[in-house]
Amino acid sequence: MSGSMAGAYTVLYQGSLVILAVALLLCLIRAIRGPQIADRIIAINMMGTLTIISIAILAFLLEEGYLMDIAMIYTMLSFLAVVLLTKIYMGVYRQKHAGSDRPETAREHGEKEAGQHE
């Protein structure tokens, strides 16, 4: 970032960091208010992506190249979080409602699956 345009780069990227921080806060509000589970998972995913962009900008501003590795780790972890959360919540929901409204479909669904799958 050293060079003749260092000041301009600083203004541009520090301003964008401020805007990203405000967007992060708004996503957090949606995560708290969202009436359903899917809203919250969407908001958490978005917060992860905003954090990745912030870390990439910081890697440029501070001239440390290895901060990109941290952004990659964050990408992987947020994806893993979405996969696990959706799977577990779908299982919990269907298990809770299996006996109540549709007993015959739940029983044949249970007998169809081998039960050894994850």
């Binding site: 590795d69 941290i70 992987m76 893993l80 299982g91 669904h109 249970g110 039960g115 050894q116 994850e118």
Partner: protein
């Protein structure tokens, strides 16, 4: 895998458990058998009628027997109802008192420390200056943190890896139901019941995971190998690799994951890595803080095969952490590894 204690019910802990849970206990049963010689006569006739039929001595003995039984009933129900309530309340009170005592002791100990930033503090010795200034030449690691935890203070990192290993051993003892014990298949079926309702074999997820998991594992290996050049090292690289394996397990299922990661794999990899680390750094038990001169050269700082023993120790720690994360996940989900 823990063995069951067949006589737990009659042992001291078993009886204590049953007493606190306010149930029937064997102690009461034995006391009752001891006192049980005269059967209670009030089973057939009401009390007044019985007393009118007895003469004076018998009436007194009968009265004393009834009093004994009343006292005994009070003792027995006190043990099961009010005793356990007393025990629970006393436990809470004693726990609070113990925590307060511990807080008082710790605060008193902290108050005797010298003030922060005083230049005469014992903390301001030569150690930090030596690490920062001579660290790169002595250890050969550009990343000074890796040089410290794996060269200057490698003995402490051995303790940390042991803590990971102990945690997995504890979870294995508590939770593992292996398929070799035939009476455990019923419990495995129950565990599989939990996962019956989850979505399985999602084609989109499987297609992408087939592409992504090699990338994630490769990235984890990159982070482990570059531990002494850029931030990373064994612990974070092992966590990334563990995350990759968990993703594979989620997309494809336990049967496919067990084709390459079984309990024997976990045993072999963990024990070999931890033994390698222990053999290379446990001379500190005997020599104290002094290093032995190392056979491996430190090399040019900045290349991968420099910094002496640090890359190999990073690999060992990374493998232990990866196996630990995967093992903990499958033990909590399925109960088997």
């Amino acid at each position: 895998m823990a063995r069951k204690n067949e006589h737990y019910e009659e042992s001291l802990l078993g009886r204590l458990d049953r007493w606190t849970q306010s149930g029937e206990s064997g102690l009461d049963q034995r006391m009752m058998d001891d006192l049980a010689s005269p059967p209670p006569p009030a089973a057939s006739l009401p009390q007044k009628e019985l007393e009118r039929r007895m003469d004076r001595d018998d009436r007194m003995k009968h009265h004393m027997l009834l009093q004994e039984q009343a006292t005994y009933d009070r003792i027995r129900t006190w043990g099961s109802v009010r005793g356990s309530r007393f025990f629970r309340r006393a436990y809470i009170v004693l726990a609070v008192l113990f925590c307060l005592a511990l807080i008082a002791v710790l605060l008193r100990a902290t108050a005797t420390l010298p003030p922060f930033g005083n230049p005469d503090n014992p903390m301001h010795n030569d150690v930090a200056r030596r690490y920062i200034e001579d660290g790169m030449e002595e250890t050969g690691a550009v990343n000074l943190v890796a040089g410290m935890i794996l060269d200057y203070r490698a003995f402490d990192t051995l303790g940390e890896s042991n803590v990971l290993f102990t945690a997995v051993c504890a979870v294995l003892i508590l939770l593992r139901i292996s398929k070799e014990h035939s009476d455990a298949t019923a419990m495995l079926e129950l565990e599989a019941d939990d996962r019956m309702y989850e979505p399985q074999d999602d084609l989109i997820l499987q297609t992408m995971v087939r592409l992504l998991v090699p990338l994630i594992l490769l990235f984890g290996i990159y982070v482990i190998l570059n531990g002494h050049i850029s931030p990373g090292g064994g612990f974070s690289g092992g966590a990334v690799m563990g995350a990759g394996l968990i993703l594979y397990l989620n997309a494809f299922g336990f049967e496919k994951a067990e084709r390459f990661f079984t309990f024997r794999t976990f045993q072999t990899v963990s024990v070999i890595s931890l033994s390698f680390y222990a053999l290379s750094k446990s001379y500190s038990f005997f020599t104290g803080a002094n290093h032995l001169p190392s056979i491996i050269q430190t090399g040019i700082p900045g290349k991968i095969f420099s910094a002496g023993l640090i890359p190999y120790l990073n690999i060992a720690v990374g493998l232990v952490v990866c196996c630990t994360m995967y093992a903990l996940y499958t033990l909590f989900r399925k109960g088997d590894l």
